[in-house]
């Protein structure tokens, strides 16, 4: 992964942005430490709700919301929470925000809530959120924690969207519910089935691996 930064061309693109450390906190989650494609975290929602682009985005933003909020709270309370019960407290904080999100989504769109089902509640056990709380927010101040959460969340959204879009496009011939191809397009039903989730994620990871391979060869 580090080759990406060392690569001279990439560097020129990143240099200006990466001047300040806080920009880096934000950027790393999107590409270098992408929670899904690089860290392979939070797989359940990645696979379960990415059968359409809309679900994927909704799930992504819901997760990002919980991620940002819990990071904020954890970074603010990091000196208050006793070390022994910190994990339990993090889980409580996360569970609270997930419950809020759950009710909020129900209020915004019942259909969406239905199609995401129990997976909204399952954000609680998304290892991404707990790992950011423990690994970053508990050791950093407010601003970097927010940036880190936003970056990771955005990276998560991007990953979910790239899966959801591909699966919906092939599996249903549409994007956000709008038909893209001609009426006669033959849907690949497998893509919106569970197996399609496994295959699509594998495909994206494979692409990442091939890219990595190419770059390390090119060096």
């Amino acid at each position: 992964m580090s080759q990406l930064v060392k690569d001279p061309k990439e560097k020129s693109f990143f240099t200006t942005l990466a001047e300040s450390p806080s920009t880096n906190e934000f950027i790393k989650g999107i590409w270098k430490d992408n929670p899904v494609f690089v860290q392979v975290l939070g797989m359940c929602p990645v696979l379960a709700v990415t059968n359409t682009a809309e679900n994927a985005l909704a799930m992504g933003f819901a997760t990002t919301f919980v991620l940002v909020m819990s990071n904020i709270l954890v970074s603010l309370l990091r000196n208050v929470i006793p070390k022994e019960v910190r994990i339990a407290s993090y889980i409580l904080i996360i569970a609270t925000f997930v419950t809020i999100t759950d009710y909020a989504i129900q209020a915004i769109s019942v259909d969406l809530h239905k199609s995401l089902g129990a997976f909204i509640s399952l954000i609680v056990v998304n290892c991404l959120i707990l790992s950011r709380a423990e690994a970053f927010a508990s050791k950093n101040t407010f601003i970097p924690s927010v940036l880190d959460a936003l970056g990771m969340g955005l990276g998560f959204v991007l990953a979910l969207f790239s899966l959801g879009a591909l699966r919906e496009l092939l599996g249903n011939g549409s994007l956000f519910g709008m038909s893209i191809f001609s009426d006669n397009f033959q849907e690949w039903i497998v893509m919106i089935l569970p197996a399609g989730g496994f295959f699509t994620l594998a495909l994206w990871l494979l692409l990442f691996n091939i890219l990595k391979e190419r770059r390390s060869h090119g060096k």
């Binding site: 191809f181 001609s182 006669n184 397009f185 033959q186 690949w188 039903i189 497998v190 893509m191 089935l193 197996a195 399609g196 295959f199």
Partner: protein, 339 residues
């Protein structure tokens, strides 16, 4: 002439003389009559379909080898088998572009990612077929009738559907004996089944031709006869028992034996050496497992046919079967149980 440098090899200096390529070629020979009968029954449709899947499998194998910088393994003939078998599991009027895709998936997903010949955990043709089944459930269950009079005067329109487009079907389409039984309660006669006078996948229609191919391979020791024998006897036994208990609900044993993909699956698919267990006890357990799963899925499942799923599931179990059925090593007292 005693001064020439001698050739050094390690013992044993004799080999039986049968090569892996010989085995693969002979499987192809055994499949050719099945393919021929399919063309006879379904006309040009079957010919184009089988040619497409075979070509697609071979091309995929070749390009994947090139892509990973290895010498091409097309020469071992295993891709031809995969292609032919895949074609035989598809309906005769299956759109060619889907069939081509199936060949790519069979070799790419079913074989290449596992490390090529000798490493595939599942039967590659069935992996291809399973993906196609899940992707295009309508196309793969739209059957055309066998021995249609104009089968040698052109091809079905669905066959030539444009890539990525839905096929349009000619008026005539036949149900398979299994789906006719499952959904309409109609029982097809044994004679029609044995000689493939029925609708169904391209290669599965005539049990006799398939059995002949199996016998040929078994006689040349290129096919483990224990597998088809244990599958078929399990299916026979259980369906006979159920038929005895309640002849109204459950079909006769011979109907179960000769309908659907059972013969093709038992003789040519389940016997894929790479994906089946090694030990003599292991293959029997494997066969019985497949037979049981077929009966369970056909009788109680939501699908009319379960051969493909049964074999794929048994493939997944076969490493474990191997593990618990290791031969007792000479001079040791207990069965070796490897962790």
């Amino acid at each position: 002439m005693l001064n020439k440098t001698l050739h050094i090899s390690t013992s044993p200096h004799l080999t039986k003389g049968i090569t892996t390529v010989d085995i693969m070629k002979n499987v192809v020979y055994a499949l050719l009559p099945v393919a021929g009968y399919a063309v006879y029954a379904f006309g040009w449709d079957a010919l184009f379909l089988l040619a497409t899947t075979t070509l697609s499998a071979v091309i995929t194998e070749h390009y994947l080898c090139m892509w990973s910088g290895k010498p091409t393994t097309v020469g071992d003939w295993s891709a031809v088998i995969t292609g032919l078998l895949l074609g035989m599991t598809l309906p005769p009027a299956f759109p060619l572009w889907m069939a081509f895709l199936g060949g790519v998936i069979a070799i790419g997903l079913g074989k290449y990612v596992f490390g090529g010949l000798g490493n595939n955990s599942f039967n590659p043709a069935l992996v291809g077929r399973a993906v196609l089944q899940a992707a295009f459930p309508v196309a793969i269950t739209t059957w055309s009738a066998a021995f249609v009079s104009d089968r040698f005067f052109g091809v079905s329109s669905s066959l030539l559907a444009q890539p990525f487009m839905k096929p349009t079907y000619d008026a005539v389409s036949g149900a398979t004996p299994l789906s006719a039984f499952k959904f309409d309660g109609v029982l097809t006669g044994s004679y029609e089944l044995a000689f493939g006078m029925v609708g169904g996948s391209t290669g599965e229609t005539s049990a006799i031709v398939i059995l002949a191919g199996g016998l040929y391979l078994a006689s040349r020791n290129m096919l483990n006869w224990r597998i088809p024998v244990s599958i078929l006897s399990t299916v026979y036994l259980f369906s006979a028992i159920f038929h005895l208990i309640n002849p109204e609900t459950y079909p006769t044993a011979s109907f179960m034996m000769f309908s659907g993909g059972l013969m093709l699956g038992a003789v040519f698919m389940a016997t894929d050496m790479v994906a089946s267990p090694l030990t003599p006890t292991g293959v029997v357990i494997y066969g019985v497992l497949i037979g049981l799963l077929i009966v369970i899925i056909r009788i109680w499942g939501g699908l009319p046919e379960g051969v493909m799923y049964a074999i794929l599931l048994a493939n997944a179990v076969s490493p474990h079967i191997d593990k618990i059925t290791q031969n007792r090593v000479y001079g040791t007292t207990k069965q070796r149980q490897t962790a």
